[in-house]
């Protein structure tokens, strides 16, 4: 009984406390760089698309709002033919960023994506691709992968030996 009265009193005293609300459009809150907002596709240090179309982001997406089709250029370099995110379904969980093996897909601290038409929330690759490396600097997947996709020849990678000469007979 007393505790009830006490809580009423404590709540009453809150009348004289400062309000916590940030009045959003007039005041902007600080968002840290790792805030999970709008999704972008980044480029590698050479300025080429980082995405290799591995489908892991699409697979891990709990609302299945990522769809893409992988294709290859004449050097055998994989890239997405199209890459579509339906932001009207996105829950900004960031699992795609976690799953991405090439650091291509990244979430940035921008959440102001309001639209009057849901259709405008469907972002294609052209809308997603940015001209920078985002949070991860200096990584180029094709330099460390085993395949030759026109970025480095077989055996030219930092952790690779020269291709085996299968005709040599030395033990």
């Amino acid at each position: 009984m007393f505790s009830n009265l006490r809580s009423i009193w404590i709540v009453f005293l809150h009348m004289f406390h400062k309000r916590e609300t940030v009045l959003y459009p007039e005041e902007k809150a600080y968002l840290p760089p790792r805030w999970r907002g709008r999704i972008v596709l980044t480029r590698d240090p050479e300025g080429e698309e980082r995405c290799v179309g591995c489908y892991l982001c699409a697979a891990v997406c709990p609302v299945d709002c990522i769809s893409l089709q992988a294709t290859e250029d004449e050097h055998g370099r994989r890239y997405p033919e199209f890459f579509r995110i339906n932001f009207s379904r996105c829950i900004f969980c960031g699992l795609c960023e976690d799953a991405c093996p090439t650091d291509a897909i990244q979430l940035i601290p921008d959440f102001e994506m309001g639209e009057y038409h849901r259709q405008n929330l469907v972002y294609e690759k052209e809308d997603l691709l940015i001209d920078g490396q985002g949070k991860v600097q200096g990584y180029n997947f094709y330099k460390v992968a085993g395949i030759d996709a026109g970025v480095k020849a077989k055996g030219q990678g930092a952790n690779e030996d020269k291709p085996v000469d299968i005709k040599k007979l030395m033990p």
């Binding site: 009423i8 009453f12 809150h14 400062k18 916590e20 609300t21």
Partner: protein, 320 residues
Amino acid sequence: MIENLEYIGMVLAIMLALVLIAAGLIWLERRMLALWQDRYGPNRVGPFGVLQVTADMIKIFFKEDWIPRFADKKVFVVAPAIVMITILLSFAIVPFSPSIGVVDLNIGILFFLAMSSLGAYSVVLAGWASNNKYSLLGAMRGSAQMISYEVFMGLSLMGVVILTGSFNMRDIVLAQRGVWFVIPQFVGFIIFFIAGIAEAHRLPFDIPEAESELVAGYHSEYSGMKFGMFFVGEYLGITLISALITTLFFGGWLGFHFLPPIVWFLIKMFGFILVFILLRASLPRLRYDQLMSLGWKILLPLSLVNILITGAIVLYLNNR
């Protein structure tokens, strides 16, 4: 003839004022809750957000007035009207000031108790007609709660009646010119206050519409203006209970002369409305069995003891 017109005018004005107050309470409650929770509440529509209610009303009027296929249509439509009508009728006996008031009934309190009993039908019928298990559960709880709490709500007022010797509301107000009944009838006041909250099914006694358990209780299936009637009905209920507490225990319109009586009445009434809101902001909901045991095991005996003691004292003083 002119008197009659004036009278009808006054009645209509009271009704309009009440509905407006009830609607305004929606805004007031949201603002006050926000204040006590260190927020702002609605502050975008109009100055201080007062037009929020207008916006809400426009929205609620334009919403589809949908009746579920599986509902009992006639009863479903009638139920929300009952709550509005009974509560508005109850206001008939409230003396807002010496000159303002609908009717001066000599059985004022009994009329109020009768009307509030009828209010239970609204809950039961709404729940039943919705043909939905959550609605029905809410209605069952609501009817049990209202019937239980009515018993000692009436009993708690008997102390006031004994002291006044009349059921007439104006008599009761005039009888408090010396001392407000809240002093001699403190126990009665507390019991009536608790019963009033339960009667208006407000937090912490909003068990019939407990949204965390029952979706929205008896009005789960209601939308549009029918829902709006339940909603406004609830706020009218708060206003009614506050007005009655003011009248029965806090001297009604009585006050110092620098303000007109109606203002005193409104100040007191709004004070209690704010207490209602404060309770909502601070207390958690009771469990159903706690509610029932509180009513039957504590408040009912307490109110009976209150009548006994009041009666004994009055008898003793009168016979001395």
